[in-house]
């Protein structure tokens, strides 16, 4: 799990152009760094996309990768978010076995976790759950007892917390 000390979140604002994701991901691949999760979508301005990268490396090599990332012509801004001072959310869809005998227990847990049932079969349910990644981990653990037949997580997105002080540890913005 990357939630411990070595887990870093990079929020990268890029131009919304073909090939940008490949440029970004290849900088990590070149050094053998595994990207733990990745979420990409356009921002409110459709000319730009935001890439949220969770990566599992030491700080000092990450600093070098961050600087290299910033050299990419299509990268506009990079913020490294401190997990302690960021709001992280992730969404998960999970299809779990829920035969008539256990269905009630599954539904109860879905309610406790404030998930939503989005599809119902004869002996399975598909549940949608959003929230902090650790909550998703917990739910996933609980569902394992019933039998998970499919699971898909989106990878996390994150923004800095508003009310605390140290929002951005390092932020490279292009002057001008």
């Amino acid at each position: 799990m990357p939630d411990k000390p070595r887990h870093h979140i990079l929020s990268v604002l890029v131009e919304n152009k073909a090939g940008v994701l490949a440029r970004v991901s290849s900088l990590f691949a070149r050094r053998g760094f595994n990207i733990y999760s990745l979420a990409v979508a356009p921002t409110d301005d459709e000319k730009f996309s935001r890439i949220t990268i969770v990566v599992d490396v030491e700080s000092s090599p990450l600093e070098q990768v961050t600087k290299q990332l910033f050299k990419l012509i299509n990268v506009v801004k990079i913020s490294e978010l401190d997990p302690a001072h960021a709001v992280e959310r992730e969404m998960m869809m999970i299809t779990v076995n829920a035969e008539p005998g256990t269905r009630g227990q599954v539904i109860e847990l879905v309610d406790v976790f404030q998930g939503r049932i989005v599809d119902v079969g004869h002996d399975q349910l598909t549940v949608e759950l959003a929230g902090p990644p650790s909550k998703l981990d917990d739910f996933e653990d609980l569902m394992r007892a019933f039998g998970i037949s499919a699971l898909q997580r989106t990878g996390r997105v994150a923004l800095p917390k508003l009310e605390r002080t140290a929002t951005k540890l390092r932020s490279l913005g292009k002057v001008g």
């Binding site: 073909a18 900088l27 050299k71």
Partner: protein, 578 residues
């Protein structure tokens, strides 16, 4: 004005002031070769696309203007991959245009298709696949802007054939030259941070054993004059790295010459023992630092670089300054003056430097007996002393490169062109051709090894055909000499696959077959007359095959991975440790 994409491409190059393109046509780029006939741009037809790339680099090195190469898709594009990587490592501004298969065929394994944008992603500063003929002027303008600003580098533009083919409706476009560049993610910092510059001035005023560590960035920033002013103002001695030879005159009393693996003792040791390194446009390359943990242990670091990713990459600076070397040095000069404190008494340090220089000069065995082969260093000294002072020297990679850097006297910027970062064998001949095209009034000598020469010699056919009178001195020791040197020193003299033969090929005949004047020199008395003859020929290329001593090694040497405290001076002088 309605144009087709091919016309728009050529017109865009003209708008960028391009005077020469190095290239070789093929299927996908064919439509662009038609409007070139009507353009004032000179096209130089190479014999191999790698030659086009290195010529563009040599041109850019010599002139400071971006070099341009144009090749076709697939193998044409992959053949220029090495020059792109070379230009990336040495920060050379070049723009490479590659043809691509028609848009509809991309991704279908079409004839001569290669995803060159994918292949070159990590070895270009930027690259782009053009998707509409209308975008061609903008993409070309951006390519030149990106290649030449900030930390310079190679840019590749890949253009599908349908966008430039007048018979295809996709090539229709309305000519419009953008009046501004909109790259929201690209705004290089030019001016250094004023507080950091004041901090740097303070460190300089406190340092007792400072050394200026000048790198290739000085030349890229056209900062040689500013560097000289800073050195003279502060009285601080300067080492010039392999990429910065000529950035500070070798004849200057403050010049310590080249540091690094094959640097001279004083340059290496001055850095080791300094208390302040002023790194200007240099990047703490492993060939300069030796074992990083043992490099200049007592030195504080001022690091000036236009590329923020260089600061702290190898050694954490005490004062990091992001900015253009020229702008920062000029501000630093002002800050030193404004600080208005006398530089400390450094007479002991200066005396120490002079003593090292006297005690450990560059050195080789000059004795010669009948039947001996020539000393390669002697050949270089004779070339140096019998050629114009502003001769441009271009080298390949290996022993001849190190000897050239050591034994030439570089007193002008932009007179030394070599492949430093990538270490590309075969660089010299095509890069010399490119340099001569850019600087036709100057004498251009390629000093090459026999191994290197065999890799790209075919570009002398280009030089003959295009009347580009470059001169090539092959230091022919019949070996891959630097590899042989390592096998001798580190592999117990077990020589594996390094012997090349002195006369296969016959270099004189080969040169003549390529339309050059060919000469062979074996006796010391023939050296100077051959050089004089070569320097008098101005209507075709000249090749001299100097038969040199294969046992000769490059010294001093700091073995890879060892500390710069362990300088091996050579067989007669032992180790200059301290």
């Amino acid at each position: 004005m309605k144009l087709n994409g091919g016309q728009a491409l050529i017109k865009s190059l003209e708008m960028e002031g391009v005077e020469v393109v190095f290239g070789l046509p093929g299927g996908a780029i064919l439509p662009v070769y038609d409007p070139i006939i009507d353009s004032p741009i000179r096209h130089i037809l190479v014999r191999h696309e790698q030659g086009a790339g290195h010529m563009a680099e040599g041109y850019a090195h010599a002139t400071g203007r971006p070099g341009v190469a144009m090749v076709t898709s697939g193998p044409g594009a992959t053949n220029i991959v090495t020059p792109l990587a070379d230009a990336m490592m040495d920060s050379i501004p070049i723009v490479v245009i590659t043809g691509q298969v028609p848009s509809a065929a991309i991704g279908t394994d079409a004839f001569q298709e290669c995803d060159i944008v994918g292949v070159t992603r990590s070895i270009t500063k930027h690259n782009e696949l053009v998707t509409s003929a209308q975008d061609i002027p903008r993409v070309i303008q951006e390519a030149f802007h990106i290649a030449t600003t900030g930390r310079p580098g190679p840019v590749l533009v890949d253009i599908p054939k349908d966008l430039v083919d007048p018979n295809n409706p996709n090539s229709a476009m309305e000519w419009e030259w953008p009046d501004s560049i909109d790259l929201p993610g690209y705004k290089p910092t030019v001016k250094g941070h004023p507080r950091m510059i004041r901090e740097a001035a303070k460190l300089i005023a406190e340092a007792e054993r400072p050394v200026i560590y000048a790198g290739g960035g000085i030349l890229k920033a056209r900062a040689a004059e500013a560097l000289r002013e800073l050195a003279e103002l502060t009285g601080i001695s300067v080492v010039t790295t392999l990429m910065a030879r000529g950035a500070f005159p070798d004849s200057h009393p403050l010049c310590l010459g080249m540091p690094g693996m094959h640097g001279n003792y004083t340059a290496i040791t001055s850095m080791q023992q300094s208390d302040l390194l002023i790194a200007l446009g240099s990047r703490f390359d492993d060939r300069v630092t030796g074992k990083v943990g043992a490099f200049a242990p007592d030195a504080k670091i001022i690091h000036v670089d236009v590329d923020p990713a260089e600061l702290g990459k190898v050694r954490r600076p005490d004062v990091p300054i992001v900015g253009d070397c020229k702008a920062v040095i000029e501000e630093l000069i002002k800050a030193v003056r404004e600080l208005n404190v006398p530089q400390p008494d450094r007479s002991d340090w200066d005396a120490q430097l002079k003593q090292w220089q006297a005690q450990f000069p560059l050195h080789y065995d000059q004795g010669w007996n009948e039947g001996d082969a020539l000393k390669p260093q002697f050949c270089i000294e004779m070339l140096r002393d019998n050629s114009p002072e502003d001769t441009i020297v271009v080298s390949g990679v290996g022993q001849h490169q190190m000897w050239s850097s050591q034994f030439w006297r570089f007193n002008h910027p932009y007179t030394w062109i070599n492949s430093g970062g990538l270490g590309t064998m075969g660089f010299a001949v095509p890069a010399a051709v490119g340099a001569k095209v850019g600087m036709p009034g100057r004498t251009v000598w390629a000093i090459d090894g026999d191994g290197c020469f065999q890799m790209t010699a075919q570009e002398l056919v280009t030089a003959s055909a295009e009347r580009i009178p470059v001169k090539v001195a092959i230091l022919n020791n019949a070996y891959l000499g630097m590899v042989r040197q390592w096998q001798e020193l580190f592999y117990e003299e077990r020589y594996s696959e390094v012997y090349l033969s002195p006369d296969l090929p016959d270099y004189k005949m080969w040169a003549e077959a390529m339309g050059c004047v060919g000469m062979r020199v074996e006796h010391p008395d023939e050296v100077v007359p051959a050089i004089e003859k070569a320097n008098s020929i101005d209507d075709r290329p000249v090749v001299i095959d100097f038969r040199v001593d294969w046992t000769e090694k490059v010294y001093p040497m700091v073995a890879a991975g060892t500390s710069n405290d362990q300088v091996i001076l050579g067989p007669e002088m032992g180790e200059g440790g301290h």
